[in-house]
Every structure is written in C-alpha cells, then in structure tokens.
C-alpha cells in the first residue's frame, strides 16, 4: 500500500494542481507541498523498510490483464528504495526551484512535474515488465512538454529529438517485452524465469543505453541540456537517467544472465567510451550546463561499468554512485540555474570573479564541486573507488578508464569552479548579481547535507542495497 501511495500521491497531486484555479504563487506552493509530502512519505517507507531482510518489501500485487499474465505489481528492494528516495528529494528541489523562478503557466507546469515524479517512482517500483514499460514511457509524456514549452529558443527541436531517440529505444524494448512476456507466459518479474535470447536482451540494453546515455547513443543529449529548463534538466540527468541503471539491475542482469555475460565486453567498452567521451566533452564544453550534462554522461558510464563488473564491489559501488550522482548532479544543475539567473548567461567566457562579495555562493559551489570531483573522503570517491575495485576483475583496462574518469572529473570541475568564482570578473557578472538568497540555499543545502552524510557513512547505501552484502548472488537468484 505504501508503495502505491508513493506512486499515486504525486499523480493525484498533479491532477489537483492542474484543476485548482489558484494564484501563481499558491499553485507553486501547493505543488511544493505535495512534493514535500512525498518526501515525508518516502521517509515513512524507508523507516518501515527492513534493510537487513532484503528481498522485495512493501510490495503489492493485483491482477491487471490476466489472460496475458500482466499484473500491477510494485515493491522495493534496498537499491530501488534508495533510487526512489533521491527521486523524491530531487523533484522537491526542482519544484522549489521552479517556484522561485516563477515559471509561466504554473498549473500546467507543476502538474507535469508532479506527474513526472510519480512516473519515475513507479519505474523504480515496478515488478512487472509491462508496468515497467508503462512507467518508463510515461516519463516521456511530461518531459516532452516540459522541455518543449518552457525550454530555450530551440526547445522544439530539442524535445522532438529527445523523445524520438528515447522512443526508438523504448519501442525496441516493447518488442522485447512482448517476446519475453509471451515466451514466459507472464510479464511478472517475480514469476518469470530467465531467457538466453540475445536479441531480446539487446532490445532492453539499447533502450537503457539511450536513456543513460552510453557512448554512441547520446545524440539527444547536447540539445536537451541546452534547451531544457534548468530544473527539468536536473531531474532528467539526475534521476531519469537512473531508470536505465534500475533496468539493468532489475531486468538486464537477472533475467538475461547468459546474454548479459556474453555482451558484457561490448557494454563495458561502450560505458568506458562514455566515461572518456563525456569527460573530454565536459572539459571543453563552453558553458556551465554543458559541463554538468557531459559530466553526467561520464558518471553514468562509470555506474554502468560498476553494474557490469558483476561483483559485489562493483554493484554496491554502482548504487552508491547512482545515489550520490543524482544528488550532486541535481545540486550542480540548480546552482548553474542560479548563476545563469544572475548573469543572464552560462557561457564560461563571460563569467568569473563571483567569489568576491558572494561568500555563500562561493562556499556552496566549492563544496558541491569538491564532491563532484570525488575528493577522497566524499561519497562519490567511495562510489568510484568501489567501482574501480570491482571492475578490475573484468580487466585492468577498465579500472584505468575509471581512474582516468576521476582525473578528468577533477580537471573539468576545477575548471568550472575557477571559471565561475575566480579569474577576473567576467563581462556578464555585474555588481547587482547578489549572493545566494536563503530560499535558494534551502533548495541546495538539503541535497548537499545528504551528500555529506553519505560521505561520512557511505555504507548507509552501499551496505543496504542488496540482500546480505552479496549483490551478485541476489541478482543471480533474480531477487527471489
């Protein structure tokens, strides 16, 4: 019931927000209230969740289309509960940011954001292949309009490119879902067995590779990050991309053990390519958003490396890194939005010198940057170290790639920190650009605090994601 409530609360909230004719600020306030209630509900769920127990918890299942074996079946494992947790936190921050910016047509905007939240949570909770597909697709409906209506100048091209890219992947996945479901006689992830059909696995893998994105499937990325409203980009890169990781963890590995093993070489290489390509692109991106977006691609590559390491270290590290990256990437995007809001541009060449007279902004950017570049002692360092150690067994070359990713992360993050804060004051930085307001600080601070907690205690996530500290085994047993 709790899981269903977690899915339905934002969706019902969306309908209420869409239908209630309130003034602008009140609409946004109502949406934020719903988002915060969702966070509270997640905390309740987490407190009821027995992390030592493992297995599916808080589950419900109801028949939906019996003749094909489709059911409404939801529930959480340790790792998916964490992913849902960052989803609700990031959404609340994004909705708060939209409220602060005062987006036009607030009823439609906030209703779509809440609907998006519900769809993402449903994706992380789905225990039925078709329900997973439905929620995976349902995320696209609000994203299409959110980018297309509230985005930048080339928003319409951006949103169409994004949707067609992801839909192409999703429809291949639909073909795979059909084949898998019909062959197994059920779509339930809890009841179905494994399959050794490489083509079916490929359908899933391509869909996830586009969503992540891995190296040659990132064509939608450059347009989307430039044109999306910054808080939508935060949700997109921080949590929507994590549904790919959930897909690999819940469907790719447990349902297709042999194909996943056979193709792991290819996927590891693509993920490694994403790390290198994303990092290099981030290093030479001319604007703030570019740096954050491409660094997300690199991080998603790292996480995928961890997933396909197939061992406990890699899998634990992947989940830890996914949680930490969601928080850090959302914080960075919101900070980028705040800087852009002050200076009217995100071009690195026209920024600089913002540290002078803006101590709060400087401190927050430095803290976020330090976590992003995985300074030893941070949660991201813990995650990247686990991935590096885990993927070593698959080949030392991959560990080198991870190390390279860490080094490059330091380079592009330091570049962006100094481009914002140091050097000489840029042309777009005027004296009227003030320090962070308390309201803005309140949006970013909770996420940074969560990251600091995780930095002090990374085992909170990494030791509670899979049953009994044995990630690979629980995946091999298909979470039974």
């Amino acid at each position: 019931m709790l899981t269903t409530a977690l899915i339905l609360l934002p969706i019902i909230g969306a309908i209420v927000v869409a239908l209630t004719p309130l003034p602008r600020a009140a609409t946004a306030g109502l949406a934020l209230l719903v988002a915060l209630m969702e966070v509270a509900l997640w905390i309740v769920a987490a407190s009821r969740f027995d992390f030592d127990e493992g297995g599916l918890q808080l589950g419900t299942s109801r028949e939906w289309v019996e003749s094909l074996g489709i059911s409404y079946s939801v529930g959480f494992y340790g790792f998916s509960l964490w992913l849902a947790g960052v989803t609700v936190i990031v959404s609340a921050a994004a909705i708060g940011y939209a409220m602060w910016v005062g987006r036009d047509r607030p009823r439609a905007y906030h209703a779509l954001m809440l609907f998006l939240t519900g769809a993402i949570v449903a994706t992380f909770a789905a225990q039925d292949l078709l329900l997973f597909y439905v929620s995976f697709e349902a995320m696209l409906i609000p994203l299409y309009v959110l980018v297309g209506v509230w985005g930048g100048a080339r928003r319409q091209v951006a949103t169409l490119t994004f949707v067609i890219y992801t839909m192409a992947g999703s429809l291949l996945m639909l073909a795979s879902v059909v084949v898998f479901g019909v062959t197994q006689g059920t779509f339930s992830l809890l009841e179905s067995g494994t399959s050794d059909n490489v083509w079916v696995f490929l359908g899933f893998a391509i869909a996830f590779a586009i969503k992540a994105p891995l190296f040659p499937f990132h064509g939608w990325l450059p347009l989307a990050y430039r044109e999306a409203p910054v808080e939508v980009a935060a949700v997109l890169y921080a949590v929507v991309s994590k549904t790919a990781i959930y897909g690999f963890l819940r469907i790719g590995l447990p349902k297709f053990p042999e194909p996943a093993d056979d193709l792991s070489g290819v996927i590891l290489v693509l993920a490694g390519a994403a790390v290198v390509y994303g990092s290099l692109s981030a290093f030479r991106a001319p604007d703030l958003r570019g740096v954050v977006a491409y660094s997300s691609m690199a991080q998603m590559g790292l996480i995928t490396l961890g997933v396909f390491a197939f061992d406990d270290l890699g899998l634990d590290g992947a989940v830890l890194q996914a949680v930490a990256h969601a928080l850090i990437s959302a914080s960075m995007f919101l900070l980028v939005g705040m800087v852009e809001h002050r200076c009217g541009t995100g071009e690195l060449s026209s920024l600089g010198g913002m540290a002078r007279g803006r101590p709060v902004l400087a401190s927050v950017v430095i803290v976020a940057g330090m976590i992003a570049l995985a300074v030893p002692g941070s949660a991201t360092f813990a995650g990247e170290f686990l991935i590096m150690a885990g993927v070593y067994d698959q080949g030392w070359g991959y560990s080198v790639v991870v190390a390279l990713g860490v080094v490059l992360a330091a380079m592009y993050t330091l570049r962006v920190i100094s481009a914002i804060l140091h050097v000489k004051p840029g042309s777009a930085v005027r004296d009227e650009a003030l320090d962070l307001r308390p309201g803005e600080l309140a949006l970013v601070l909770p996420m940074l605090l969560a990251l600091l907690v995780l930095s002090a205690w990374p085992a909170l996530v990494s030791q509670s994601s899979f049953t009994g500290n044995d990630a690979a085994q629980s995946i091999a047993e298909a979470f039974k």
Binding site: S67, L68, E137, G148, V163, M167, L174, A175, V177, V179
Partner: protein
C-alpha cells in the same frame, strides 16, 4: 405457398432499430416544423443507436454458440454482436458530434442516412454468405456516398463524394467479381460451405479470394487500396469522416477477418502472407505520407491507413489471439479516431475554415480540455501508455509474435517510431506555438457553446483511457467473440 424460413428477430433487432430510427428521422424532415426538425431527427437517431447498442449487447449475452439464420445467409454470434456494440456506440457519439455542425438544411436527411449507414454496417458484420456480404456493403456504402457529398455548397465535399462513389463502386465491382469466381469454383455462397467444398478449380478460387480481399481492403483503406482515403476524409463533413474512420473500418475489418477465417481456412497460407504484405505496405505508406501533411484531417486519414496496417497484422496472425487483439484494438481506436475528429470539428467550427496544423496553434492553452483530449488521442494513437493504444499494439504484437511473424513486430515497431514524428507534431502545434504568433482569430467571435461536442470528446477520452486500466473486461469480451470463429 412459399416456404418462409423462421426469422430470429432478436438477432436482427439492432439493424431493425436503426432502420426504424432512420425512417422516423426521414419523416421528421417532412412532418416536424422547421425549428425542431434538427433536434427531432438527432434525438431519434441517437435513441436508435443507443437502442441498437443495448440490443446488440443482449444478443451478445444470449448467444453462447454461433447460430446460422435465415437459410444460411446470416449468422448470430458474439463476434457480430460485439462489433455491433462498437458500431452503435460509435454512431451514438457521432450523433453528438454532428449536433453543432452549422448546416443550413438537410438535417433530417443527414441523420436518417447516418442511421441507415449504421444499420447497413450492423447487418454487414453478421453476413454469412457472399450475397449478404455484398448487400450489406452496398447498403452502407450508398448511404456514405451521399453523406460525404452532403454539404453541397462546399465543392470539396462534392468532389469527395464523387471520388468515393467512383472508387467505392470499383471496389464493389471487384468484390462482386471475386465472389462470382469463388461461387464458380465451389458452387457455394455460404462461408462455411465454401470452406467445406472441394473446389473444382484452385485458380478460380484463389483469384476470387484475392479479389474479395482487394475489395474489402478498399473499405478498410489499407494501402495500396487507400487512394481515396485522404481526399474523402478531407472533403467530407468532419462528423462523417469521424464515422467513416471508426465505424467503416471496424465493420470491414471484422468482416474481412470472418470471411478469411471461415470461408478460406484451406488457403490460409496464401492469404496470411497477402494480408501481412498489405499490413506492411499500409504501415509504411500511411506513416511516411502522414509526415508530409499539413491538413489535420488528411493527416488523420493517413494515420488511419497506418492503423489499418496494425489491424491487418492481427488478422495475418490467423489465430484466436489475433482475433482478440483485433477486436480489442478496435475499441480504443474507434474512440481515439472519433475523438480526434471531434476536436478537429470543434476547431473548424471556431475558425470557420479547414483545420491545418498551423490553425491548431495555441489550442492547448485556449481550450485546455480539448487540448488535453487531443493530446490523449495523439499519444494513444502513437501507443503511449495510459491509453488503450498501448495495449492495442501490445496485443497485436504478441499475436503476431505468437504466430511466428516476428518480422512483422519489427515492422510495427519501426512504423510506430516514424508515427511519433507526426503525432507529436500535432501536440507541438497545440502547445508550443500560440495563436497570437499566427494571428488566428475565431470567425465571427467565439463559437456558440457546444455541450454535445464536449460530451462526445469526453466519452472518447473516457474509452481511450478506460480501455487501458480496464483492459481485462474488454479482452474477455473479445475472447468470447473470437471463440465464435473456427480457428
């Protein structure tokens, strides 16, 4: 004394109800005073369609096993009854949608013809021999020829009517010739007897089968027999287009399924391939051509061709699962297609000119409910979740895969990806451009409130979304109906 066969009036009752409504509506055009002519005709027709739906529902309930009626000319089974329910409900919604049409005269004739066309389709889907099949086809086609050309003051409407008449007449001739060849080869007219007969000449039989297939493919507007569709859909009054796109297609698809499965089981290896090829051509041509359209009615016409492709895919599966998938598909499809044309009609009445993509600009913000409805229909047609369109595609794909046509699944997936290009384009125009940029203004001020149209759109949204959440009951009914076919 002539021997008259016993008549099962219950089985005939949906058609009789609609014929009665048609007659009363026609009388209303003459007897009833001018000011209440429209409401009387529309009311009677609406009641006729609702009554037909209820009666068909009763027949569905009371017919556990198929029965042949009237000396083997008709069949009473759940397949026919379920289709009749879909047709009658569609007709009732189309009456609501027609209410606000600004037509100077011809109200009585319009509604009488609509009911008569409905009666023809209801009769057509229960045909059990080639003669009644042809009769039913001509019956509703003649009504549609006139309906398409009813707006005589618009040249486009007349042109569409003429085009439909010529192409439709040709299609009927092909169908009739095919029937003659089949009769020549087997000496039988009834579907069951054709299947049982030992054909004297296989060439005749296969040629006849091919011509019957072609004749029906015209009616379902499957490519390459679709040439009339865009012009006719564009030129016809929008409410008639809505009726044709949903009801004609549903009726002709079900009859195609019935003829192929009951009359030609021996030739199934031939026709499954032919139907699969038609499906591929329809998917490819419908989707690619739709990408290039600016006129929304034309765009929806090409979209209906591509949907014919999906439905043919279900027929090509030649299995009970395929039949279920087809019948399920028809429910959300009929709702989405009537609903989409209803929104087009709303815009058309507002602007008093043909609706192009440009003239949809800003619709989503100006008329939020119509906007959300159109959004739902477009996403549904593209197979997005939260609409029955997704399950329609899913069931069709699983039926195709189950029958070993995995390549058809891939074609369907590719076609769906292409279709996003134009379905999302409609959403883009509605929400991402505003009317102000293009200086669109309602002709003669705001249009009069049209609650009937609102109800029609609402009902369509309800079915589109409801068929997603309550897929199982529809699928159960479809399974019962599919069980009346001899697989």
């Amino acid at each position: 004394m002539i021997d008259t066969p016993s008549v099962d009036w219950l089985a005939l009752s949906p058609a009789v109800a609609l014929l009665g409504a048609s007659g009363v509506a026609l009388l209303a055009a003459v007897i009833v005073p001018d000011w209440m002519r429209k409401s009387a005709a529309a009311g009677v027709t609406f009641a006729g369609f609702v009554l037909a739906a209820v009666l068909a529902g009763v027949v569905f309930d009371e017919t556990p096993t198929p029965e042949v009626l009237l000396d083997g000319s008709m069949v009473r089974d759940q397949l026919a009854a379920l289709t009749q329910v879909i047709l009658a409900v569609t007709g009732a919604v189309v009456v609501l949608l027609s209410w606000g049409e600004r037509r100077r005269d011809n109200h009585g004739e319009y509604y009488a013809l609509l009911a008569a066309a409905g009666a023809g389709m209801v009769f057509f889907v229960s045909a059990e021999n080639l003669m009644t099949l042809f009769l039913g086809l001509e019956w509703f086609s003649l009504c549609l020829y006139i309906l398409v050309a009813l707006d005589t003051e618009r040249p486009a409407s007349l042109e569409a009517g003429l085009k439909y008449l010529i192409v439709g007449g040709f299609a009927s001739a092909v169908l009739l010739f095919g029937s003659a060849l089949v009769y020549g080869a087997t000496g039988k007219l009834s579907f069951a007897q054709i299947a049982a007969a030992d054909p004297t000449d296989d060439v005749f039989l296969v040629a006849g089968l091919a011509m019957i297939l072609a004749g029906l493919a015209f009616k379902v507007s499957a490519a390459p027999f679709h040439m009339w569709t865009p012009d006719v859909y564009q030129g016809a009054p929008t409410s008639v287009t809505a009726f044709m796109s949903a009801a004609t297609k549903a009726a002709a698809m079900v009859v195609l399924l019935r003829v192929l499965v009951t009359a030609f089981p021996e030739e199934s290896e031939t026709w499954t391939i032919a139907v699969a090829v038609l499906a591929c051509i329809s998917l490819a041509w419908g989707n690619l051509a739709a990408l290039a359209q600016r006129d929304v009615k034309r765009l929806l016409a090409f979209s209906s061709i591509s949907h014919a492709g999906f439905m043919l895919m279900a027929i090509a599966a030649n299995s009970e699962r395929g039949a279920e998938a087809l019948l399920y598909y028809l429910v959300p499809y009929a709702a989405m297609s009537v609903g989409a044309f209803a929104v087009v009609a709303a815009r058309e009445r507002e602007l008093q000119r043909p609706v192009t993509l440009e003239s949809l600009a800003g619709l989503g913000w100006e008329r939020p409910l119509y906007g959300i409805a159109m959004w739902t229909f477009m996403l549904g047609m593209a197979g997005f979740p939260l609409t029955g369109g997704l399950f329609g595609k899913l069931f069709v794909f699983s039926a195709a895969y189950d029958s070993g046509d995995w390549w058809l699944v891939l074609v369907g997936v590719a076609a769906t990806v292409v279709s996003l290009g134009y379905y999302l384009n409609v959403v883009r125009w509605m929400y991402m451009r505003t009317g102000g940029e293009l200086r669109l203004a309602p002709a003669g001020g705001s249009p009069p409130a049209d609650p009937a149209l609102g109800v029609a759109v609402g009902a369509a949204v309800l079915v589109t979304v409801g068929s997603f959440f309550a897929a199982q009951p529809i699928l159960d009914a479809a399974a019962d109906a599919a069980a009346s076919l001899p697989f």
